[in-house]
């Protein structure tokens, strides 16, 4: 690996200022994504801004009114193991748990995960389904964006120069919601997802009152299937409904070919996994 300068600011403001001053520089936290790009020569850094010396940015807090707030430097393992996340947003814990292996989850941070803008990832799918908001901060201020609006394309986000993701917030899901995240890999269990489905259901007995369905890892950003969500309203999740959901998802999604499967295969996979995620959600998904 080439030598580069490493700044280790101890405050968020200093980190942001450094990034503003050096437009070519990148922020690094866990390094699980960036180091691969560097090792493969895709990105040759002159300057990296290490965020890990900044204190207080890994906190995970819960507030009944505003919901969950996860500091950008919280690791995926921190989130997966957080009693608050497990209690209030078990789907998010699951989506973090299924990422790669424990060595990666110990290092990778949630801020890095969303900032990287990689479509082949589990947490963004769950977060988009949960209506997550990212806090984007500079030395002087903070703005908020829906994660769904923040993710623009492959490795492309709405981050402005000098901006960093300082936290990810998830609004309280409200009473009666069940949720499930279902990952599918085509090779090793530690592989990135070939498809990931996040779903939330509010049931009234057998009947769906409200549904949310997001399909990830097959399109450049997670795809929320709003037509399926409206279709599900008022129906029971019987075999016929599930089959129709599968058909709608397969018809409605535009997957990309990659090493994990062809577009045609993933189209089909997305339908099957959507059915299964809904089934899992209705039977196992913890009601809140």
């Amino acid at each position: 690996m080439r030598r580069f300068e490493l700044l280790e600011p101890e405050s968020f403001a200093a980190a942001s200022a450094a990034l503003l001053e050096h437009p070519e520089a990148k922020a690094i936290a866990g390094g699980t994504a960036l180091l691969i790009l560097i090792k493969h020569g895709v990105y040759v850094p002159e300057l990296l801004v290490n965020l890990r010396k900044i204190r207080g940015m890994a906190d995970i807090t819960w507030d009944a009114a505003s919901g969950l707030r996860v500091g950008a430097l919280a690791s995926l393992n921190d989130i997966e193991r957080s009693p608050l996340v497990r209690e209030h947003l078990p789907m998010l814990a699951e989506a973090c748990h299924v990422v790669a292996n424990i060595r990666i989850r110990n290092l990778a941070t949630i801020g890095g995960n969303v900032s990287h803008g990689d479509y082949q990832s589990d947490p963004p799918t769950a977060l988009v389904a949960l209506g997550a908001v990212v806090e984007l901060s500079t030395a002087t201020g903070t703005r908020e964006l829906l994660l769904a609006d923040f993710l623009l394309g492959p490795y492309e986000t709405a981050l402005e120069p000098g901006e960093l993701v300082s936290a990810v917030r998830v609004p309280p899901p409200g009473a009666g919601w069940r949720s499930a995240y279902l990952k599918f890999t085509t090779r090793s269990s530690e592989d990135r997802p070939a498809v990931g489905v996040a779903t939330l259901l509010r049931l009234d007995g057998e009947t769906v009152r409200e549904a949310r369905l997001v399909v990830g890892a097959v399109t450049v950003t997670p795809s929320r299937m709003t037509d399926v969500e409206s279709y599900l309203g008022g129906r029971s999740l019987d075999a016929g409904t599930l089959a129709e959901v599968g058909r709608m998802v397969s018809a409605g999604i535009q997957p990309i070919d990659d090493i994990r499967g062809s577009a045609a295969y993933k189209r089909r996979l997305a339908g099957v996994q959507a059915e299964r995620a809904l089934e899992l959600c209705s039977t196992m998904g913890a009601a809140r």
């Binding site: 090779r187 269990s189 592989d191």
Partner: protein, 786 residues
């Protein structure tokens, strides 16, 4: 108490689990430079210009290009010297070595690489063996060097001129055409396996320097130090005594570290630099250095209604990549094993080793056999299904047995394959023909099935292993050997053999690391030959010491040497344990004081070799025999396979250390599982696209079957130490076809012929079968049955 046959703990265990074991990359020498390689970006191109002058101008940077090869033979290779230290006139694959830089640090070396100017003129490239044989294909090695005479077994391989076919091996018996035509049923199928990589944990690493007296010293992660010494001696026209090859712990190889890899590069570069040079590859580079042969295998079999297999013709085409490496032997050994462990009257077996513009393929655990076992064991189950018989019964009916003559003319001895098969049948719960039907799963949309397969494989023959044993006056002994501790456990198992032979406590025996200045010749730590060959040599050397001890003790104890015995370092008269002598006492008696040492040495050469005219003779000093069983669950809506249970049985001859054998079988099973389900190197216009563990996925512990069982059969071999044969690779071959057969049984006979069994492929096969089924029923052919 004897340690032979017990789970003696590994002597290298503590050093490894505490991170203190030394590997090649840990060796830092005074003044050492660090090397980096500039690799070809093109799969095939003429090198118009290579200019390293700008890089050379940096203080402390030394470069190696084609301009630095004067005065040496720049070509090396295990069989054919067709691979240059750095590219000379052309590059032959994306990743080929164009230039090398050594500098004070890897960072500087990497920076300096950018300053080397290379101009390519692209040439048409060939991406597979069939494209390579098409009319008008570019010939990759127009001027072929003559085969290395070092390896006698290569006389049976026919090297081709003016062709991308590097070599052909052929063997036959009976009259295939007549037998096939007369058979009641004919089967004619093509099976394929892709290029895969070994995934050894330690990357390739070598360090070299030149002593003032002109001796070349190389520390290297190799599996065959003696061969490296020979190849480097030839490259520099040095006597072998002026080349010293030292091998510390090696972190896995599975064949990828056989024969020269980085050693020629560091040797030439350190000569120019006049300083030690170290080269450690990145993972990405490992994928460009050694891979397993992709293969396409056409297999035709004639079988009679009574279940007797009468005729088989196999044409196995192996992709050997840009350089021959050990490919011609891999293909030969795969070739004669391609008919399988069956009595078949008419056989015609041919294997083709073909050059392509791909990374060089070489040895890989299983050595050419998994590529052919996949076809013959898959087709076996298809034949049983067509005949409506139990595939296990079909195997029993046709299996080879003790005393049979193999297609190569070998008289088969120590053949416990029937026992391996029965162990696996029992362990997997095979219930005859009903086990060929799908079994229900508790999950809707999922089905289960079980499958079984068997295998036969040879070992490198003829070959040499020499051992030297020294007994010290305190009763401790050392085995001097060039066998490599690569994780497979010879430092423990060979010590067990020496301790048992001389009659010493295991703790008193140590095994050295290879250092060709001190340890005797050994052909290779590969081909699962160490226990058999080095074990034999060590046993004979140990016996010489025991005999000397008995002679000394006989005088002291006033008994005939033949009446003595030794155990735990105490020599005594049989039946009179009180008439005894310790080893220090024996030394005192012999030397006057407890000083000096006793020596034993033995060079064991296995005999054999195949004739050039008919490919027959003696192919193997001993045969590997194994069976595997698998239970799988198939998700019929996604095509995803999960292996629930795997069992393997291997004939060890005599088990020296059961736990180590279990671990070998477990490793073989996991490697095979990866090759069966997920591993595949992918190329796009000749460029490797998944040369990292992020994109090339090996099985993780999460993919491990819920249950794995290793079983051992002991059919002693007269030449093996205490009857032991090699076993390290044996379990690998049958695992993939056992999985394939389990999948076929789960899916009511749907046969997949291309590895890996990716979910997408499985789903396509399910669809195709449904379409065929619908068409056969006169329904709408386009409507999948779901």
């Amino acid at each position: 108490m004897t340690s032979l046959g017990t789970d003696a703990p590994r002597v290298d265990g503590p050093a490894k689990v505490t991170g203190q074991a030394t590997y090649t990359a840990d060796i830092v020498l005074p003044g050492m430079l660090y090397a980096k390689v500039l690799r070809s970006t093109m799969p095939h191109a003429r090198l118009v210009r290579v200019d390293a002058s700008a890089a050379e101008r940096i203080l402390g940077v030394v470069t190696l290009t084609r301009d630095d090869l004067a005065g040496i033979d720049p070509y090396y290779g295990a069989v054919l010297k067709d691979q240059p230290v750095v590219a000379i006139d052309r590059v032959l694959f994306a990743g080929d070595v164009v230039a090398v830089v050594a500098a004070e640090s890897r960072d500087i070396a990497e920076e300096a690489l950018d300053l080397i100017e290379v101009e390519y003129e692209a040439l048409p490239s060939v991406g597979d063996p069939f494209a390579a044989q098409a009319p008008g294909a570019p010939i990759l090695h127009a001027e072929r060097n003559t085969p290395e005479v070092q390896f006698l077994d290569m006389k049976s391989v026919h090297f081709q001129a003016d062709s991308n076919v590097c070599s052909i091996y052929h063997v036959a018996q009976g009259d295939f055409e007549a037998g096939y035509a007369a058979a009641d049923h004919q089967f004619d199928d093509v099976y394929t396996v892709p290029t895969i990589q070994h995934g050894h944990m330690e990357p390739h690493a070598s360090t070299a320097y030149w002593e003032p007296g002109g001796k070349l010293v190389v520390h290297t992660a190799t599996q065959n130090p003696s061969v490296i010494r020979t190849q480097l001696a030839e490259m520099f026209s040095l006597p072998e005594s002026m080349v010293r090859v030292i091998v510390p712990y090696v972190g896995g190889g599975y064949g990828a570290k056989t024969y020269p890899k980085l050693e020629p590069i560091v040797a030439v570069l350190s000569r120019k630099a006049r300083r030690p040079v170290s080269l450690v590859l990145t993972r990405e580079e490992v994928f460009m250095t050694a891979v397993r042969h992709a293969a396409s295998v056409r297999i035709r079999t004639g079988i009679n209604a009574d279940g007797r297999i009468v005729a088989r013709k196999v044409e196995a085409t192996y992709d050997t990549g840009a350089y021959a490496d050990i490919g011609p032997r891999t293909c030969k050994n795969g070739g004669y094993a391609s008919g399988g462990p069956y009595r078949i009257e008419h056989q015609d077996l041919t294997s083709y080793c073909v050059y392509t513009n791909r990374p060089p393929s070489g040895a890989f655990r299983g050595f050419g056999v998994p590529q052919v076992c996949w076809p013959y064991e898959s087709q076996m189950d298809d034949m049983a299904r067509r005949l409506g018989v139990d595939p296990v019964a079909l195997r029993r009916q046709n299996l080879i047995h003790e005393g049979d003559t193999f297609v190569t003319g070998d008289k088969l001895i120590a053949i416990g394959l029937d026992k391996c098969l029965e162990q696996v049948v029992e362990a997997i719960g095979w219930k005859g023909i009903e086990s060929t039907r799908p079994m229900p799963s508790d999950k809707p949309g999922f089905v289960r099935g079980i499958g079984i397969a068997v295998m036969i494989k040879s070992t490198m023959t003829p070959s040499n292993s020499a051992a030297s044993v020294r007994l010290n006056s305190d009763g401790s002994a050392m085995l001097l050997t060039s066998s490599v501790e690569i994780g497979q456990g010879p430092h423990t198992a060979l010590a067990q053999i020496v301790a048992e032979t001389i009659g010493l406590p295991l703790a008193k025996v140590t095994v050295t690391f290879p250092d060709t200045d001190f340890t005797p010749y050994d052909q290779s730590t590969s081909s699962s030959r160490t226990i058999f060959s080095m074990g034999h040599a060590a046993q004979k050397a140990g016996l010489q010491i025991r005999d000397q001890l008995f002679e000394i003790a006989a005088k002291q104890l006033e008994a005939a040497p033949g009446d003595l015995e030794i155990a735990e370092g105490i020599i005594s008269v049989k039946g009179s344990p009180n008439r005894s002598l310790t080893i220090p006492q024996a030394f005192r008696a012999h030397f006057g004081t407890p000083v000096g040492s006793l020596f034993g040495a033995f060079d064991f050469q296995t005999t054999g070799g195949l004739r050039p005219e008919d490919g027959k003779g003696k192919a193997s000093a001993f045969w590997f025999l194994s069976a595997a069983g698998a239970e799988v669950e198939v998700d019929t809506r996604t095509g995803k396979i999960r292996v629930l249970r795997a069992v393997t049985s291997v004939d060890t001859g005599k088990t020296i250390n059961p736990r180590q054998c279990w671990l070998q079988n477990e490793g073989s099973m996991l490697t095979a599982l990866g090759s069966a389900l997920q591993e595949e190197m992918v190329f796009d216009n000749g460029q490797p696209v998944n040369s990292s563990f992020l994109d090339y996925l090996m099985p993780s512990m999460e993919d491990y079957p819920d249950e794995f069982r290793s079983m051992l059969v002991e059919t002693p071999h007269p030449e093996g130490p205490f009857g032991a044969k090699g076993m390290g690779e044996a379990a690998l071959g049958p695992v993939a076809p056992a999985i394939g057969n389990a999948v076929a049984n789960a899916l009511g006979g749907i046969r997949l012929r291309d590895l890996p069994l990716r979910p997408e492929r499985v789903l396509d096969a399910i669809d195709a079968a449904a379409t065929r089924g619908a068409a056969a029923r006169g329904g709408n052919g386009g409507e999948a049955a779901r």
